[in-house]
Amino acid sequence: MPSLDDLKKRIKSVKSTQKITKAMKMVAAAKLRKAQENAEKGRPYSQKMQNIILNLTKSISDPQNAPKLLVGTGKDKTYLCVVLTADRGLCGGFNSNICKLAKSNFKKILGEGKNLKIITVGSKGLDQIKRDYGKYIVKKFSFKEKKQISFNEADLIGKEIINLFDKEEFDICQLFYNNFKNVITQIPQAQQIIPAIKKDSSDKQEKNSTYYEFEPEEDEILEDLLPKNISTQLFKAFLENAASEQGSRMTAMDNATRNAGDLVDKLTINYNRSRQASITKELIEIISGAESL
């Protein structure tokens, strides 16, 4: 049985923890609104770009000579996985969810006897992945000191990926990030960015296709556009991730605050009970002392 003093101390410490989680929740809520806005503003750009690429690929005359970024190298020997996570913790299952998805994919890739290469963005993902898959990590990025991730950072990573691709270091590139659906739901996602089209998507086209004029040739436009598309997709993933992180943190901190409240209630009842018990005990002692006289 803890003494009254111990209980008092515990109540105090839980209360101060509650204050911290409450403050974090407020901050996350404020940041979330902004991040959400950014994510929504960024969506049209990447969508439209995908659209243009789709239109371009429809009219490509010579699929044999199409850029490799679009159709792939024809092999699927080496996978490059880019795992996007946060730099900070205390955001519920946010980081673990991405890592869990990524790890199950790693397992599958390795199980099929293929080569694996990993790029991590964000320090939390790195910590979780390097325990089991440390030797596969080829590059790690962290933008901890950046307050807000801009297109430049996405471009930096995009260039690095293209650089590796040009050196034929990998055949297929996948992106792991959390898609922001709403404050409570974030869905971890795996998106393939190289090659830009999957083979089966070629069936369901032809409908309402417009005839486009191209200037210069399709191939040249694609060569200019595809590297940009990779940076764009990365940037989109960044924005979605940032919004998801804040959303996830907000719900996590909300839960923590509520739990702390419950704990305080429980401890207070305990405290009052033992206080009452000690008073009763003292009274009994006094009374029985008086009786014995």
Binding site: N38, K41, G42, P44, Y45, S46, K48, M49, N51, I52, N55, L56, S150, F151, A154, D155, T210, Y211, Y212, E213, F214, E215, P216, E220, I221, D224, L225, K228, T232, F235, K236
Partner: protein, 128 residues
């Protein structure tokens, strides 16, 4: 004059969405003017100035970008668009010196050199 919709998008946000009757774009192979009911076209940009002619004319400096025109919707995707009136002279001077330095490097490919030369020329024109 009949109008069509112009939209300039950057990765982070939508920069502009208005109705215009003519837009002049610095396409990679030369300037093109787009009027209503132009045939669908996809092209990409070199450094230059996008001129939007409408009730209130606007000009944007871009370094690169992709353009799609379809169904009287002109879509410009660029990460570098800046409104001409927002560009300050000091900033321009800085960009010009940087661009000059970049041009002098030997490792440049022809295409990169071509793009940088255009960038420099456009910037000089803006200053004048």
């Amino acid at each position: 004059m009949s109008n069509f919709t112009v939209e300039i998008l950057s990765p982070a946000k939508s920069i502009l969405k208005i109705e215009a009757h003519e837009v002049i774009l610095p396409s990679f192979e030369g300037e093109i003017g787009i009027l209503k009911d132009h045939i669908p076209i996809i092209t990409f940009l070199r450094p230059g100035i996008i001129k939007i002619l409408s009730d209130a004319d606007q000009e944007f400096f871009v370094e690169d970008g992709t353009v799609e025109f379809v169904n009287n919707n002109l879509l410009v995707l660029t990460s570098t668009a800046r409104k001409l009136s927002d560009l300050k002279k000091e900033n321009l001077d800085l960009i010009i010196t940087e661009t000059k330095k970049a041009i002098d490097k030997d490792s440049l490919k022809d295409k990169e050199k071509y793009l940088l030369t255009y960038k420099l020329e456009t910037l000089k024109n803006i200053i004048q």
